[in-house]
Structure formats: C-alpha cells, structure tokens
C-alpha cells in the first residue's frame, strides 16, 4: 500500500492530511496547483478520501433541505432589533456569539438523537382517503350502497 504523501512541503501548509482544504477542493476554491496536489494526496490517503466522502455527503444533505420560508414578521423583528443596536459590536456581539454557539450545540445534540425532534407536519388528504375507502369497500360487496356515497363530493365545512 502506498504511503500517503506528506503535506509538510505542500501549498497547504504543514499538516499530515488535507483538513480544511477538502472543503475548498469540493467548492472549487483551490488554485490549480493546489487542486493537483490535493488529488494526488487523495489517491494514497484513505483517511482523506473517507473525509472527502463524508464532507461531500454532509454538503448534499444540507443542499437537500427544503427551502424554509422565514416566519411571519421575521424581517420586521430583525430590522427592529437592528435599529436598537442588537447587531452592535463589543460585549453584545460576544454575548450573541456565545448564544449562537449554544444554539448550535443544542442543534447538534438534537441531530445526534439525544433529543427527539418532532416529525414534519403533514396534511392528510381526507376526501381522497374517503374515496379510497369507499371504492375498496365496494369490491366484492354491495355495489350500490358502498359506492353511491363516493358520488357525493366530500367537504368538512372548512
């Protein structure tokens, strides 16, 4: 098995593995010479190859997330807080950075399964389910009485 090439003399600095350069490689942000060096390293380094695969998968997952509409009033609240100096520098910024880190940690705990995030909301298509029930129930049973209600459009007053 080929020994992984050291990066001590590479354009990336003195590390044994590619590290943060993997993300740059995936995003096409490396210079051509750096790209060549990184790809050559990946050929002989299963650790970096596995990390590249994991980083790529995480990137795909994030990209697969559905677009989320900002909640009603989000922009208005953000603008209001901004005017009050919520985005000011100094101790306030550090405090907010700390809160952000805390939130990220909470999210990580949730994602890793220690918590139990709620399932996605869904809306059952009740009129279609009623039709599916009535048609399936009419098979092998009294056609007229089982099927006639399907001819009546279903509504529930909303």
């Amino acid at each position: 098995m080929t020994e992984p090439r050291r990066f001590g003399d590479s354009p990336f600095g003195g590390g044994m593995h590619l590290g943060d350069a993997l993300s740059g490689l995936l995003d096409g942000e490396l210079a051509p010479s750096q790209q060549d060096a990184a790809r050559a390293h990946l050929v002989g380094c299963p650790t970096c190859a596995e990390e590249l695969r994991a980083v790529g998968q995480a990137r795909d997952w994030v990209r697969a997330l559905p677009p989320v509409e900002p909640p009603f009033g989000f922009y208005e609240r953000a603008m209001r807080e901004g005017r009050r100096g919520a985005f000011a520098t100094g101790p306030s910024l550090r405090r907010r950075a700390g809160l952000a880190a805390l939130g990220a940690a909470a999210a990580a705990v949730t994602v890793l399964g220690v918590g139990s995030p709620r399932p996605n909301p869904a809306s059952p298509a009740v009129p279609r389910l009623v039709e599916a029930h009535a048609t399936s129930a009419s098979v092998g049973a009294d056609l007229l009485s089982k099927l006639a209600p399907v001819a009546v459009p279903v509504s529930f007053g909303r």
Binding site: W61, L112, A132, P149, V152, P153
Partner: protein
C-alpha cells in the same frame, strides 16, 4: 345538487318493528348484492346523512347493467369489472381509483356478529313492493333494508343511531327495471393518479389481523406513501390509513368533534355521506380511519389498535427536523 335540510331526521325505528320477524335465508344480503349486479335498472337515488343537527340530501342518478354501474352526482363514479373503479370529480377526467388487478380477501361471515332476519311485509318504495330485511346486533337494530320483492334489488337502506332514529339512508325516489338500454361504456382513457398495490408479508404494527368488535383484515395496500389496511365484519367495512408526519390543528379537514382513541390520544371525528371517520396522530404517524359502520363500532375498533413503537428516524430526517424545530420558535 345538494340540499341542506335543517329539520332533524326522525324516522323512529319503533314505527317499523311491529311486524313479526322470521329468520331470513342466510344469503339475504348476498341476494341483494347479487341483484345489484344482475338486475338492469335506472333510477334516481336520494342519499341522506346527518351532520350535527342538520340533515343533508344528495340526489344521484344510477344506472346498472350486467355488473357495471354508473352513479352520477357532484362526482361521477363507475364500477366496470367486479373490481375496477373509476371516478371523475365534477366534470373532470376519469381517475382509476381501484385497478382490476387488486382483489381484497374474502369477507368474514356476518352471521357471527349480526342477526339477519326478514320482517313480514314492507313499504312501497319508488312504486315497488318490498320485503324488509333487518340487521341486528344483539338487542340493537343496526339497519333495515327494503329489497324489491321480485328481484331483491335494494331499494332503500336505513341505518339507525343509538337512539333508534335514522342517521343515514339511501332510497330510490324512482326506479325503472329496463333491460333494453345499453350497458355503461368504459371511458376511452383514465388517469392513474395513485393506484393502490397490494402489500404482502410483514406490514405495519397498525394493521393487525383483527380489530375489536369482529373486524378482520381483508387486505393491505400501498398508494404513494400511504398504507391502507381494509377491515370488514361482513356487513360494514373500515379502512385505516397510515402516513408519516405530525398533525397540526390547521391540517385537520374541518371543525370536528374530539374523541379519545388508542392510548388516550385525542382524535377528531367527522361524518361523511357514507359514514364516519376519525383522524389522529401518534409517534410520528398520521392515522385516518374511515368507515361505513356505526360511530360506536368505529371508535371501538380504532381504540383496539396496538400502540406504535417509538419512531427511529434516519440521521438525515433528524437533521431536517432539527432545522425545522429551530425555526419554529421564531414563528
């Protein structure tokens, strides 16, 4: 045409049970079922059902020939082969709701749960003489059917509530038994929006072989991401639909009545023209039970569903949900 009738629907059972009853042939229900397939007829059928304090009436036209049937109301529904079912919403194109290739299993014997008796004499319905068949469960009369004395075609079907009043009925306003007209023709094309496929082998914990009150599973199907378990007690049918997700109050179909379902969970119940339904959510699943059975039977059955094991989502779905969870408090 839909007509909302505000008067309470009060055909009391006591007016209809004075005549002596004799044991009907075991196949009385089978005779009615067979007659609806074999007897050529055209008619106008009134469907009535209660919704809270109001009674609704929908008038349908029905045509039956050689095993095929077309029923026209706000929707148009067609039964072609013994199994194929098509539906057109309003004046839109036809959708295949049930393919001819999927067949439920045999239904259980109704006599294990119900007493089916023929009552001497019957009213004249749509100008035709009838015989009366009563379906009872113990001391409770569930239904009375008025079958055409000559052909056994069902001309009226009345379902009774717990207080003995009719809660749901369908009756021919007029009917003509005429074999000279052509059979309904199959539409030249039909869409296949969500054709069900039979599921074999192990299925969800929410599709046990039996439910309370004598309901036995006769089929399990999957359509899109929804699992459909069909149950029957020989007279009534009950479907349990299971899909992934969490139910928000805004996703309910309307302002229904709260009821306790399995495991102390609250569900919401609604009448529909052919019966009653319940919607509830548990362990990341949304369940909808739809039935033509009396409301008390439906609730007994859904309360007997086994509890679901806790959900074990994949890492990716955990990631997605975590993002939503973080966003929701900002709303």
């Amino acid at each position: 045409m839909r007509v909302a009738v505000t008067a309470t629907f009060t055909l009391l059972l006591t007016t209809a049970v004075a005549a002596p009853a004799v044991a009907a042939p075991a196949s009385a229900l089978d005779q009615a079922r067979q007659a609806s397939e074999d007897t050529p007829f055209d008619g106008v059928l009134d469907v009535r059902w209660q919704d809270g304090g109001a009674t609704h009436l929908e008038r349908l036209t029905v045509q039956g020939r050689g095993g095929a049937m077309v029923i026209q109301g706000g929707n148009q529904v067609m039964a072609l082969s013994p199994f194929e079912r098509l539906l057109a919403h309003g004046g839109q194109s036809w959708d295949e709701l049930w393919p001819s290739s999927v067949t439920p299993g045999p239904r259980p014997d109704a006599s294990a749960k119900y007493q089916v008796t023929e009552v001497a004499g019957g009213p004249v319905v749509a100008g035709r003489t009838t015989k009366t068949v009563r379906i009872s469960q113990g001391a409770t009369v569930r239904e009375q059917l008025y079958l055409d004395a000559a052909t056994s075609l069902m001309l009226e079907r009345d379902e009774y509530g717990e207080d003995g009043s009719v809660v749901r009925a369908m009756a021919f306003e007029s009917v003509s038994l005429d074999a000279s007209m052509a059979a309904p023709a199959k539409p030249p094309s039909a869409e296949h929006p969500a054709t069900p496929v039979a599921v074999r082998g192990q299925v969800s914990a929410l599709a046990p072989l039996e439910l309370a009150d004598g309901y036995r599973r006769v089929g399990v199907y999957r359509s899109g991401g929804i699992l459909h378990a069909l149950y029957s007690d020989g007279v009534y049918d009950l479907s349990v639909f299971e899909q992934a997700g969490r139910l928000r109050h805004s996703d309910l179909p309307g302002p229904g009545d709260p009821v306790a379902v399995a495991g102390g969970t609250t569900g919401w119940t609604y009448p529909w023209p052919g019966g009653q339904l319940v919607v509830w959510s548990t362990e990341g699943r949304i369940l909808t039970a739809v039935s033509d059975a009396p409301a008390d039977q439906l609730l007994l059955a859904v309360r007997s569903l086994p509890p679901l094991p806790p959900e074990r989502p994949s890492l990716l779905s955990k990631l997605k949900r975590a993002c939503r969870t973080l966003m929701e408090p900002l709303a």
